[in-house]
């Protein structure tokens, strides 16, 4: 019996080649997209699942409230971990990780490397988190002057085993104590190498431990029982009231500190915390899943529509089978079998597609999926479930519809497909609403990104070349003045400046300041950047009041500050010049840096266009820069780059030259949105393609169904043009209705999305219109192929077909 069904299924697929290809292509593309989405979702939902104790690990975050403003930090002070561990027995262990925003210069033998994700940690790191050691062991890994490195770093630096070999980190000697397997890419705490927090100088440790306001550590707690963590909030309040709050009172800080816990398993999607690790986006997860489901749904609709469309042809088969004794159930099974066969065939093709396209997908989504990831047991079950579901979903209605055909009518030649028009119309409208909706979303997101990128940033980023320097590399820093002088002599250079590690487009650091307000000094955190005296001029940042830093003035480095307009506005000053500012705070209103505001710059976008421009303090740090910014003279970019490289080679051949363009770097923060646009574009193209293919198949069927009518109309004098219009009109109406639905739904949803930006584009109505007209033309072109053929057929022939 099964063999018989498979045979019939195979033959029926072969007989209707066009329909079968449409179904096969649509379903496999839909399934392939769904599989990729499943990979993506699975990846995002299993962040840090490598750590078996993840359900018992919680991170402490700090909420600080000062002068009415409250900020939630992902970090906490150094004393929080040990304090909680000592006072509360349910805390089984703690581990702190120093927040580090800079790369570290690694020296192995004579070679220098800049590396990210080299962390300073407590030795308890191995009892909280999972590491698989291939050299050394957990007990020995974290100790003073020792460094544990991951396998890929070992392979990069050493040949063969690395244990007990030496390397320099920012100039200090460390011995390799252990080598561990690389952590998976989906972790929010990437560790490529780790050293002990004990390596911090004792005085620094002392300063960090005693100051509750210095929140520069990620603190992870291990609870014996996760239930204890749920009821831990009152104890955290107790703790805050016992230590940090009195500490602030003693030091004259008017504010509040509160702590809270986030489970490790929820960290990836936790939002709105400052100093947090890069995050996943639950919205994107939802959007991609939805798009994948939509795509598959559209392919299913094609299957349903085309199956019904074929029913005229298959009605005879049904009639004969019934006459020969088949029950309705037998026929339902047969037709469902066909759709399941079709979907499994599509699954096979989808897997081939995924395998072929995975490199492109990885590039698009910035992931590291491997084809074999799909064959984890849970995913295989999910995959088979999905395919069966799709098979049933697509096959159920056609199966019942076909099996209900009454044999007597068919065999007498009286059966004709009637009714059901509304279902087909609704399905086509649904398909096109979805595909047009996606197209519009793509257009709006694209428009907004273009808008953001074309915003006046208030500073120059075009063609600016940024060189990475190592402040810890004394050799390099010593030769820097000569290097700068040599570059400055080059006529292709228009301007040259230096700065700390934060260039525009990068998250700035922030410092605790005392600001003169109402006659006394008040503490507050502010964003800072450090620059030299040429920085403002080189980047065309406008000074609206006061003066620039001056290298000649020896006092400027410790006593001069420039702020932005937002800073002035926040304090409600009319004359900001001369106001007192301190940082590097010491007790009794003393500070390492104590001076006055000497200038005010325009609010330029130093971080991101996602947010409003926040108050900023610009510090004067003319020496030991981390970045060199070079502005080429017009048309001299290429020659400047080669000059930079030549000069570098003569000064510092050991150190790799690393440079990047500032505008590219600045726009890198829109990577997520750019990625969203590109992913969305593909989804839009795919849905539109599949929907149009369905329409093509449907048009062939409708035309076939109306052949007799076309013949009559032609005999009555209708011209091909009129027939074309007659046949296309019905579809165009459907697309028009879909266009209206998509526009209405799209405007509501997209307006909401745009509200999330401080600067936002208008809805691109012109592009909506273009998309709408495009869809209508596409639908017309799709349907008119068959309509034109029918219209050109000789009427005698079309009537004979009846």
């Amino acid at each position: 019996m099964l063999h018989h069904y498979l045979l019939i299924a195979g033959r029926s697929l072969l007989r209707n080649k066009v329909h079968s290809l449409i179904n096969l292509f649509g379903l496999s593309l839909g399934l392939a997209c769904c599989l990729v989405v499943v990979l993506y979702v699975q990846d995002e939902l299993t962040y840090d699942h490598v750590h078996p104790k993840r359900d018992r690990i919680f991170r402490v975050s700090t909420r600080m409230t000062q002068t009415g403003e409250s900020t939630h930090y992902a970090t906490s002070s150094m004393a929080v971990g040990p304090g909680l561990y000592q006072d509360y027995p349910e805390v089984e262990a703690f581990c702190r990780v120093l927040l580090r925003m800079q790369e570290i210069t690694v020296q192995v033998n004579d070679k220098l490397f800049n590396e990210a994700h080299i962390q300073m940690v407590d030795s308890s790191v191995t009892s909280l988190f999972q590491f698989e050691f291939i050299e050394g062991n957990a007990g020995e890994a974290i100790r003073p002057k020792g460094v544990a490195i991951c396998e890929s770093l070992r392979n990069k630096y050493f040949e063969g085993p690395a244990l007990a070999k030496f390397m320099k980190l920012n100039g200090s000697d460390y011995m390799v104590t252990a080598v561990f397997r690389d952590l998976p890419a989906n972790t929010d705490l990437p560790i490529r190498a780790m050293t002990s927090l004990q390596n911090l100088p004792p005085s620094t440790q002392q300063a960090f431990v005693t100051d509750w306001g210095r929140i520069i550590f990620y603190t992870y707690l291990l609870f014996s029982d996760p239930a204890d963590a749920k009821s831990f909030a009152p104890k955290l309040d107790q703790f805050a009231e016992a230590f940090p709050i009195p500490f602030w009172k003693e030091n004259g800080v008017d504010g509040d500190i509160r702590y809270s816990l986030t489970p490790l398993s929820e960290l990836h999607f936790a939002r709105d915390m400052a100093y947090d690790t890069p995050k996943g986006n639950r919205d994107y997860l939802f959007i991609f899943s939805l798009a994948g489901i939509f795509l598959l749904l559209i392919a299913c609709v094609n299957y349903i529509n085309l199956s019904i469309a074929q029913s005229t042809r298959r009605s005879v088969e049904v009639g004969i089978r019934k006459a020969a004794g088949a029950s309705q159930n037998d026929l339902v099974k047969q037709f469902l079998g066909e759709s399941v066969v079709m979907t499994f065939l599509s699954l096979f093709l989808a897997l081939v597609l995924v395998e072929t396209l995975l490199p492109a997908v990885n590039g698009l989504a910035d992931k590291h999926f491997a084809f074999m990831d799909l064959f984890q047991p849970t995913l295989v079950v999910a995959m088979l479930g999905l395919v069966s579901l799709v098979g049933l979903l697509a096959g159920m209605y056609p199966a019942y519809f076909l099996s209900m055909i009454r044999p007597a009518e068919v065999l007498k030649g009286q059966w004709r497909l009637s009714g059901r028009q509304w279902l087909r119309k609704v399905l086509v409208v649904v398909q096109f609403s979805i595909s047009l909706g996606l197209v519009m979303a793509t257009l709006v997101v694209g428009e907004q990104m273009r808008f953001l990128k074309n915003q006046d940033l208030g500073l120059r980023t075009d063609e600016v070349i940024v060189l990475r320097l190592s402040p810890a590399d004394t050799v390099q820093q010593r030769s820097l003045p000569a290097y700068k002088a040599e570059l400055a002599a080059f006529s292709g250079l228009k301007a040259l400046a230096s700065s700390g590690v934060q260039v525009p487009g990068e998250r700035t650091g922030s410092l605790l300041f005392r600001v003169e307000k109402e006659g006394r000094l008040q503490e507050d955190h502010f964003n800072v950047i450090s620059v030299d005296e040429d920085y403002l001029r080189a980047l065309d940042i406008e000074l609206v009041a006061g003066r620039n830093f001056e290298r000649g003035r020896s006092t400027d480095e410790a006593q001069a500050f420039i702020v932005n307009e937002a800073f002035v506005k926040k304090h409600g000053w009319t004359d900001p010049i001369g106001k007192r500012l301190q940082w590097g705070l010491l007790p009794d209103d003393q500070a390492a840096y104590d001076g006055q505001i000497v200038g005010v710059v325009e609010d330029y976008h130093y971080a991101s266009l996602h947010n409003v421009v926040e108050p900023l303090v610009i510090l004067f740090t003319p020496n030991n820069p981390s970045r060199l910014l070079l502005v080429p003279a017009p048309g001299q970019t290429a020659s400047l780059i080669s000059r930079i490289e030549q000069t570098w080679a003569s000064f510092d051949p050991n150190h790799p030259l690393e440079w990047f363009f500032l505008d590219e770097f600045f726009h890198r923060q829109y990577l997520q949105e750019d990625r969203l646009i590109r992913i969305f574009s593909w989804f839009s193209i795919f849905t539109t393609l599949i929907a149009c293919m369905g329409l093509f198949g449907l048009a062939s069927f409708i035309t076939q169904q109306r052949t007799r009518e076309i013949g009559i109309r032609k005999v009555m004098g209708a011209e091909p043009r009129q027939i074309l219009l007659l046949l296309s009109r019905d579809f165009l109406w459907l697309v028009l209705v879909a266009l209206m639905i998509a526009t209405l739904a799209g405007v509501v949803a997209l307006q909401g999305w745009l509200e999330g930006f401080t600067v936002r584009a208008d809805l691109p109505w012109v592009w909506f219109a273009v998309a709408g007209i495009g869809a209508l033309l596409l639908a017309f072109a799709t349907t008119s192929y068959h309509a034109y053929r029918a219209a050109s057929l000789q009427p005698a022939r079309s009537m004979r077909m009846e």
Partner: protein, 233 residues
Amino acid sequence: MLIKTEALKKIYRTEEIETTALNGVSLHIEEGDFVAIMGPSGCGKSTLLNILGLLDNPSEGDYLFMGQSTARFSERERAKLRKGNVGFVFQSFNLIDELTVYENVELPLIYLNMSSGERKQRVKAMLEQLQIMHRINHFPQQLSGGQQQRVAVARALVTQPKLILADEPTGNLDSENGNEVMKLLTELNEVGTTIVMVTHSEHDASFSRRIVRLLDGQIVSESKPSALRSELA
């Protein structure tokens, strides 16, 4: 002369078989004539009618309609010549199920780009003449066979064509309704409309002025009907 064919040949080709439907048919029909074409099934009657009605092209030979050679006409050219000049009545009526009686009859006038006022007037006059005015808003399925054929005749006549082609017009009708239709055609012929009718029925053929008999795609005889149609009528 309205119709003149010269050695018409029509050959149908499928993948394997070649069928000669017409094999050298030469036929002359004057304006105002009423010709019945008879012959057994498959002798080529309907094929000939389709070519005469400009619905199909001959494979060989020539067909002059109103003095114009049409054998090499494209579908577009044939459609243009057909429009308003030829009316069709089919055995299976060929009404469009989705259109009402009124709309079915109106159809050829729409394609003549007639104004809606004039269309309305013409359709109503025609329906009154054929006594189906009371069914004007019904759909074809709601009518009896005789009524459906009257609608089809109304549709064929509404453009006042020079030529009416009828393909077994009474084939699906009982004798009473059949006679009605034949009477209608005779009356039309009497006011000058040329009629070419394909039929199996000697009875129907007796209404004509001339009978052409076909066999295997060739004309085998031409004769006058045995009884005078005026007597039958």
